[in-house]
């Protein structure tokens, strides 16, 4: 459960960016319009989540699967999103897989290096560490999110 009202809001800076990229250059976006779109986006998340969750529960499942999400979007009459989402998901899964393999390869190399020289790795793995964290199921330490929130605040 959210503790504060702002927890259910998406960052204004990102929303403004998405809006502006959709419109021709020079179109002025009223503040009220922007905040209406931001509210609508939050409501969309809630609606899509609850629809997908209802579908999952119908099949006696505890978690919302990708399948449930697609079906929910269909129910909400956002069929047009389904194909681009499926494509994006494929690309995303592949890139996650690549990151995972890269990480494993590096860990292997690092181990071998340490075993040989016993002098520690010269590589700075901090950024990769954060990136690889995003691919784990927990999604708790997403450095990119922190950066976006800083810009927004």
């Amino acid at each position: 459960m959210a503790e504060r009202p702002e927890d259910l809001n998406l960052p204004n800076a990102v929303i403004t960016r998405i809006i502006k990229d959709m419109l021709p250059e020079g179109v002025a976006v009223a503040k009220e319009a922007r905040s209406a779109i931001a509210r609508a986006a939050s409501v969309f998340v809630l609606f899509a989540t609850s629809s997908a969750n209802n579908l999952a529960q119908k099949h006696k499942k505890k978690t919302v699967s990708a399948q449930d999400t697609f079906l929910a979007l269909k129910e909400m009459e956002f069929d047009k999103f389904i194909e681009p989402l499926q494509e994006s998901l494929e690309v995303y899964k592949r890139s996650q897989q690549n990151k995972k393999e890269q990480k494993e390869a590096k860990a292997k190399a690092k181990k071998a290096e340490e075993a040989d020289k016993n002098s520690g790795s010269v590589e700075d793995n901090s950024e990769d560490g954060d990136v690889s964290n995003t691919m784990e199921a927990s999604l708790t330490t997403d450095k990119e999110n922190d950066d976006v929130m800083e810009i927004a605040e």
Binding site: I15, A36, V45, T69, S88
Partner: protein
């Protein structure tokens, strides 16, 4: 092994501020979306795939809403609140937004409506 160069797929969209050329990259922060999802009753764990999809779908939704509102605006040099309200009240599948983005009327229009309402029921007072 030298420090690996960052491939385009690992760029943070928030930092660059530009719409990423990679279609799979997300602009909205997944943690925030996850918080909203978890505020739904009965939602326990959110699998990574679903979180990705809902976040991406929300980005598409923002684009869709913006485009629809602007396309039917009388003054296309700007995007105003009323453009949003109009489109939400004219498209059926945006019905879920009608309370979030209500149509506004002026006080004069509201008064007129009230007068009409009173006139309708004149004989029943």
């Amino acid at each position: 092994m030298a420090s690996p160069s960052k491939s385009p797929t690992t760029q943070s969209p928030g930092k660059s501020g530009r719409l990423s050329s990679q279609p799979s990259e997300l602009m909205l922060p997944t943690q925030r979306v996850k918080m909203i999802m978890k505020s739904c009753p009965d939602v326990e764990t959110v699998p990574q795939e679903s979180l990705y999809l809902i976040t991406k779908a929300t980005e598409l939704f923002i684009q869709y809403l913006t485009q629809q509102a602007h396309s039917q605006a009388t003054d296309t040099s700007s995007l105003r609140y009323d453009d949003l309200a109009t489109v939400v009240h004219s498209l059926d599948h945006l019905e879920f937004l009608r309370e979030t983005i209500p149509q506004k009327i002026t006080w004069a229009e509201a008064q007129k409506l009230m007068e009409q309402y009173d006139n309708k029921f004149e004989g029943f007072h």
